[in-house]
Amino acid sequence: MAMPQIKPVESGAPEIAVSAKNISKNYGDVEALKDLTLEFPKGQLTSLLGPSGCGKTTLLKIIAGLLEPTSGIVEVNGKAVTGPGPDRAFVFQDFALLPWASVLRNVAFGLELRGVGKSEREDIAAKYIKDVGLGGFEGSFPHELSGGMRQRVGLARALSVDAEVLLMDEPFSAVDEQTRRKFQEDLLSLVQNENKTFIFVTHSIEEAVYVSDQIAILLPRPSRVSDIIRPSDLRTKDVDNIRRDPEYLDTVDRIWALLRTYVE
């Protein structure tokens, strides 16, 4: 997928699509998140990166409205989040497909739940199935697909509801390495072409640096945002050259230096 790699030059500070303000989340006595504040610029991809147990998935689910914070507030386009809403769509780590439904119905399921008529939602779903490269598999069932293809179904489902914010919970961790690389490239062009805000949870430093406009490093005990890293020039590079760019390598090293003390 050869895509133009140049973004329109931003004038001043980018618009903020999602902001998490002073979020705390306790499970009994355990503090999963403590007074966490983070902003997600519109049209960009922000990664939440950190060792396991740092609360990155918890934060993502709070933004999704699936979990309620103990204190603090999440705002999407200035409006406070009180639960799941049509402005956000979720991509699940284990795909979360309906095993008894075809690819077409699975992709259309988000629209089905929103009450979109059958022929309309299936037209939309068919378009996104083609977009994610699954044309011809509309009638297949999830168990007939590989892990990578299943995640493409999950992605198509999230895209087809046309939410402004896409929340991705380690979406590529359950697929094999080659598929993951292809996914990462496709994700870059997705961020370019769709005017959406992406929030991306990962535990892979390389993946975060490769796909992100902004990386939030989360550290555990108590969970907090330790650093925000913005790889400045990588997004203007060709996808094939990012992995040998000095800035890419430096950023990966820098993040590893931050994280290494927290890895048991």
């Binding site: 809403g85 399921f109 739940l113 929103r114």
Partner: protein, 250 residues
């Protein structure tokens, strides 16, 4: 099973047991065991009779009605228990008690409460079947993949949509497993009901034949009953396998 290089079809071992039965019957060892061939002949002769067909109709009616209520009440109750902690705490002890209770002992109480007719028989059948259906539906709902539940919520499913489009289907293999065992128990329930409450249907035939020492008739009715129960159970097991094929591949 393979014998002398020939692949035998399933259940061919039944032939051996049929042969044993025939031999025991012919040896006149016991008055109570007539030869199988005689039982089968009797079977065909009584199938056409009005008494048999009336018994079949009465039994089928009570059975279908009993199973119907057990499923229609049991499945939603089980799903609710699996989804709601409070309802679960309230009902689970009773479900477990009734599951293991000797329900036959309860039948006289039912007779007092609901009279000596069809109503009591249907309720007995339901009581035999419903508890395992509730328990299986509950377990089925509790083991639904967490992220399927979150998926439904995150795409804005109403509780009703989540119930009918996700939870029910995700729990369907377990629900059907419960229904299959429930149906087998319902066969017991309907016969016990017919024997204890009012002497109708197959229960009446059993009474009639055993009191008059018509053993071939007795065994013929029993064979029909066994075959019906077994066929029902196999059909449900087949449906269950077809379904788990889809839902186990998560």
């Amino acid at each position: 099973m393979v014998v002398f290089g020939y692949r035998l079809p399933g259940m061919s071992s039944l032939l051996i047991w049929a042969l044993v039965w025939e031999l025991v019957g012919r040896s006149d060892m016991s008055f109570f065991v007539p030869p199988l061939s005689e039982v089968v002949t009797t079977l065909f002769s009584i199938i056409g009779t009005a008494a048999f067909q009336k018994a079949l109709y009465e039994t089928a009616y009570a059975f279908v009605a009993g199973v119907f209520f057990a499923v229609v009440i049991g499945v939603p109750t089980g799903i609710l228990m699996g989804k709601n902690r409070l309802i679960d705490e309230l009902l689970l002890p009773w479900v477990n008690i009734f599951l293991s209770a000797p329900l036959t002992a309860l039948v006289p109480v039912l007779m007092v409460l609901f009279g000596f007719g069809m109503k009591s028989i249907i309720i007995t059948t339901t009581l035999f079947a419903i508890w395992i259906i509730i328990l299986n539906a509950r377990v089925g709902v509790m083991q639904i993949n967490r992220s399927l539940v979150e998926m439904a919520r995150s795409f804005g499913a109403t509780p009703w949509d989540a119930f009918t489009k996700v939870y029910f289907w995700a729990a369907l293999p377990e629900i059907l497993g419960g229904v299959r065992i429930g149906v087998i128990r319902a066969v017991k329930g309907v016969i016990i009901g017919q024997l204890l409450i009012s002497i109708v249907g197959f229960g009446a035939l059993f009474e009639l034949y055993s009191n008059n020492f018509l053993m071939a008739h007795f065994w013929a009715v029993l064979l029909v009953l066994f075959a019906l129960a077994f066929t029902l159970s196999e059909v449900l097991a087949w449906m269950e396998r077809r379904l788990s094929y889809y839902s186990s591949k998560r």
